[in-house]
């Protein structure tokens, strides 16, 4: 992919459809220097935000017509409500027993292929005031509401960005929790461990792993619902225009 095309890719789709060709030609004329990368990156972020929040977004009269204004105040409200609803479902999957995710968090059972031996893994987080549930719940819900509210629900790149942000957030959170006791256990003990019934160890890596898995599950749930909500948003935008 050409560098200038990559720069154009940073913008939301309606913006690209309106200004893409001429913007690409300008980048071609100017060249893609580091200063231009920074300038375009910041402007693209603003374009994502503006598309979803500018109350005065509207069709510009006459050809070629401005950008597709799928971002009026009414649409913003719909997106916010949709975010809260879908986020609520995701949170319920995490918190309400006996959900499969709840069981995944508290203990995970694996059956080795071709063997009768059953492995059980425990994840325990003893940080005061926190349980292992809060990290995926809070961060995912927050990212979800932000991503949907700024109007990028139908844009897969937004979910990619939100996923990356989640991983970074989870890593930072775990780094902060590291001084506290975070224990994981395996029953029966693996062959390399001492011959106890339960082998346990402390560390931040399994804690991070389980949070990443749960977070990925939540994003999968939301991403599956995204097309339905995006379609409703588009229909609403057509009615209001």
């Amino acid at each position: 992919m050409k560098r200038r095309t990559l720069l154009l890719w940073l913008y939301p789709r309606p913006w690209r459809e309106r200004y893409g060709d001429e913007f690409d030609a300008l980048i071609e004329d100017l060249g893609a220097s580091p200063a231009i990368w920074i300038d375009v990156f910041l402007a693209a972020l603003r374009a994502h935000f503006d598309l979803g929040t500018r109350k005065r977004a509207r069709l510009v009269a006459g050809p070629p017509g401005g950008i597709d204004p799928r971002g009026g105040a009414g649409v913003l409200v719909i997106r916010f409500i949709a975010a809260v609803l879908v986020g609520g479902i995701a949170v319920a999957l995490i918190l309400l027993p006996p959900s499969p995710v709840q069981q995944l968090i508290s203990s995970t059972t694996f059956v080795q292929p071709g063997a009768s031996q059953e492995w059980e893994i425990f994840f325990i987080a003893d940080a005061p005031g926190f349980t292992i549930n809060y990290l995926p719940t809070v961060t995912s819900l927050l990212l979800l509401v932000v991503a949907v509210t700024i109007g990028t629900l139908a844009d897969r790149r937004a979910w990619l960005a939100a996923g990356c942000a989640y991983l970074v957030g989870a890593t930072l959170w775990v780094a902060w929790l590291r001084p506290f006791a975070t224990t994981w256990a395996l029953r029966p003990s693996p062959p390399w461990a001492p011959s106890n019934d339960v082998w346990s160890t402390e560390g931040w890596l399994p804690f991070l792993l389980v949070n990443v898995l749960v977070g990925a599950f939540m994003f999968a749930v939301v991403a599956a619902a995204a097309p339905l909500i995006a379609r409703a948003v588009r229909q609403h935008a057509l009615r209001t225009n």
């Binding site: 200004y19 913007f23 030609a25 300008l26 100017l30 375009v40 603003r46 374009a47 510009v60 401005g66």
Partner: protein
């Protein structure tokens, strides 16, 4: 009537550039750099162009080329004239104050 936001200098520079005739993006960047010394990045330029277009202060000119020119509209001329008068008034005040030093 839409007006130029005082903080968005890019809008003022773009309108000032288009006041001498329609230009496409690269021509605007070059012209603005020549008469003001300011080098607008493509992201900054198109953020301002989008707002100016939505406010009806500029309009695209039909073109078969990818490099689409823009022209200033009558509303844009009025907004530019108002802003220029404001700048002249402020410059006069600054000049008088400096004369007292």
């Amino acid at each position: 009537m839409a007006s130029i936001e005082p903080r968005t200098d890019a809008s003022f520079l773009i309108l000032a550039s288009l006041a001498s005739g329609p230009k496409h993006g690269y021509a605007m960047v070059a012209d603005i750099k020549e008469f003001s010394g300011t080098e607008l990045g493509p992201g900054t330029l198109y953020t301002a162009l989008q707002r100016l277009e939505e406010d009806g202060l500029i309009a695209p000119v039909a073109s078969a080329d990818r490099r689409r020119p823009y022209r200033i509209t009558p509303s844009g001329v009025t907004a530019l004239r108002t802003h220029a008068q404001e700048l002249r008034r402020m410059t006069g005040i600054v000049g008088r104050r400096l004369a007292l030093k």
